[in-house]
């Protein structure tokens, strides 16, 4: 039994008529009781909500593993390195391997998809990082508050535009635009190693380049907003110190802002990479969606894991044995592992920055 420090309760009613005193003693008691209950209840209720993400995560993992297990058993580790993707003969008599039913002559290899995922995301980073960091610098250091607010709205719009609309733009507008204007250049790139990757027919509107550019635009808001917040955190005292020394803006950026924010910006980029790896619809619409081959030039058609899952899932139904659905679950597992590794890395980088080796004292006070 806890004692409530409430002197007005012990006093006889009407002993003094101070205006701050509650009118009705009973209502006060009820209110206190109610408040005390609510005080206890709220942490519990909100705690239950806070467990939901874990529950969802566990459910996703369990379902995915359960579905993928037969496929993992049959495809083995070679799944990651094989290239052929053959759903087999749907009309043939299903065969049984290790107790798992599947169509005859099937072969599933994820290598081109893994490579395609990595290639398109890498391309996206190459495009997004310079744009994001450059824009973040000018927004924080140069633009008046009103304009930088508009830049913030731009980032929100980039987040808000649905990925199918990015895809639509990529396939109907950007793709034709790029293939028209780059075709001339692409033919004249010398046929030597490395550069060869940028040579060749542009194949119309779809392919690695279009997917990469679209992905790049899609991850700009993640990288740019994080970079902007990091640059804002750079203490103005350090920047002023540099200016008082007679440094130019460029030198302030290079000597103060960059060292202060670089690991955070790398973290933000990896976070953006994680998003690009898992992006589905825009890539499914712009990649050209080939299965079983790796891109031999930046204009080649390609495919990624996420795009394959979304575009193959309905045809996977047609597989009466249900084996392809399980293969897609295995693909999903591969994707989840890649993205989670990526996000984990980003977290480490951003955390190291937050707790920072570089400026604990200056950030603290």
């Amino acid at each position: 039994m806890t004692t409530v420090f409430a002197p007005e309760l012990e006093k006889a009613p009407g002993s003094n008529g101070s205006p701050g005193r509650p009118f009705h003693m009973l209502s006060l008691r009820v209110a206190r009781l109610w408040g005390a209950c609510a005080d206890r209840a709220v942490p519990w209720v909100t705690g239950v909500f806070a467990v939901v993400p874990i529950a969802v995560l566990v459910a996703i993992t369990v379902v995915l593993f359960h579905e993928a297990l037969p496929a993992i058993r049959i495809n083995g580790i070679g799944f990651l390195t094989r290239s052929r993707w053959d759903v087999g003969s749907g009309y043939g008599i299903p065969i049984k391997v290790h107790g798992v039913e599947m169509a005859p002559h099937t072969s599933y290899g994820a290598w081109p998809l893994i490579l395609g995922t990595l290639e398109s995301s890498a391309l996206a980073l190459v495009i997004a990082v310079p744009i994001s960091v450059g824009a973040a610098i000018i927004v924080v250091e140069k633009l008046p508050p009103r304009l930088s607010r508009w830049a913030g709205i731009c980032l929100e719009v980039l987040v808000g535009i649905p990925s199918v609309i990015y895809g639509l733009w990529g396939i109907l507008t950007l793709g034709p635009f790029l293939s028209k204007h780059l075709a001339g250049i692409a033919d004249h790139v010398p046929d030597v190693p490395v550069l060869r990757f940028f040579r060749g027919p542009t194949y119309g509107a779809e392919g690695l380049l279009v997917s990469g550019v679209v992905l790049g635009i899609m991850i700009i808001p993640i990288i740019a907003s994080t970079s902007r917040d990091l640059i804002r955190q750079v203490p103005s005292s350090a920047k002023e110190g540099a200016r008082a020394l007679g440094m130019t803006d460029f030198e302030v950026v290079r000597k103060v802002i960059w060292p202060w924010t670089r690991s955070g910006i790398v973290g933000a980029s990896v976070l953006g990479l994680g998003r690009a790896l898992g992006e589905t619809m825009a890539v499914a619409m712009t990649s050209g969606a080939v299965l079983g081959t790796t891109a031999h030039s930046i204009f080649s058609h390609m495919n990624t894991i996420a795009a394959t899952i979304v575009s193959q899932l309905d045809s996977a139904f047609a597989d009466g044995t249900g084996f392809e659905v399980k293969v897609l679950a295995e693909l999903g597992l591969v994707l989840i592992v890649i993205t989670l590794l990526c996000n984990f890395g980003a977290k480490l980088l951003l955390k190291r920055f937050g707790a920072s080796a570089i400026a604990p004292a200056a950030m603290g006070n």
């Binding site: 005292s237 350090a238 002023e240 110190g241 200016r243 008082a244 020394l245």
Partner: protein, 286 residues
């Protein structure tokens, strides 16, 4: 009078303390300020943030090689005044000023003034130590490198010279590549001083440089300031009257954005002409 050529621009060679007037004791400096060349001359200077006047009609002369302390109650515009001497307020939105600030014979706010060179020659040290996020050595070196003051091969030596000058070398010579944020507050401030000195300024503006330091570090900084004159002209804003008394040659008393009185240390503290000054130095206001 062209004092420009007299001053070596790249002060590789230390400026000789050749001026006989400065070599003497404080009183002599105070008595003969009229004869000394003026490092900075402020006339009728008024400054406002978004229409709100912060400092009004300030006129002040800073004799070459002297230490001037600016004192006054908080919010009286001391820092704003100090920051307008090397145009640090320029970037603050809404800042407007008029009147003239001259650095030797040059109008600081004039057309075509090279802000970079101005700030190299009129340096500033802030209230809180603000080292850059780079190694200790880099902190001192980056100004030298930015202004290309000496060939790359000599940067290292110059860094050492400056660290020795501020008395930090012994403490940091074996960890020059460490983060400056691992140093104590006092050491960080000395590092910032070394960083400012490394670009060979003619004038050094200090904005309450010791207010976040412990007494021992404070003494180290004050000692250093005394050693820096007469090579460098120093202006120090301080709320610590005892400090003003210890280090300064001349004192300027600010109140409500105006320069109330200026004079030698002795005169301000012992024989102030204005009532407010007397009240302030005896602790009755501010």
């Amino acid at each position: 009078m062209n004092t420009v050529q007299a001053k070596p621009v790249v002060a590789e060679v230390a400026v000789p303390a050749s001026n006989p007037a400065v070599a003497g004791p404080e009183l002599e400096v105070a008595g003969t300020t009229g004869a000394l060349p003026k490092a900075m001359t402020v006339t009728g200077f008024t400054g406002a943030f978004s229409g709100k006047t912060i400092i009004e009609d300030i006129s002040l002369e800073l004799a070459e090689g002297s230490i001037t302390a600016i004192v006054g109650p908080s919010g009286c515009g001391k820092s704003t005044f100090l920051r307008s001497l090397n145009r640090m307020n320029d970037r603050i939105p809404g800042w407007k000023c008029n009147g003239s600030v001259r650095f030797y014979d040059q109008d600081v706010y004039g057309q075509g003034v090279d802000l970079l060179s101005l700030r190299r020659r009129v340096g500033m040290v802030f209230q809180r130590p603000n080292p850059f996020p780079m190694s200790i050595e880099e902190n001192v070196a980056c100004g030298i490198k930015a202004h290309r003051l000496v060939p790359r091969s000599e940067v290292r030596r110059r860094v050492q010279d400056r660290l020795e000058e501020v008395g930090l070398w012994k403490a940091v010579h074996d960890r020059l590549h460490d983060s400056p944020f691992r140093l104590s507050g006092g050491q960080q401030q000395l590092l910032c001083l070394a960083r400012s000195l490394a670009v060979s300024p003619d004038v050094l503006l200090l904005d309450e440089p010791t207010s976040s330091l412990d007494p021992i570090s404070t003494e180290a900084v004050e000692q250093l300031l005394k050693e820096l004159v007469p090579d460098i002209t120093i202006v120090i804003v301080t709320h610590n009257l005892a400090q003003a008394r210890r280090v300064a040659d001349r004192v300027a008393f600010f109140m409500d954005g105006r320069l109330v009185e200026t004079g030698t240390v002795q005169q301000i503290f012992e024989d102030p002409r204005r009532i407010e000054t007397g009240q302030y130095v005896s602790g009755r206001i501010g």
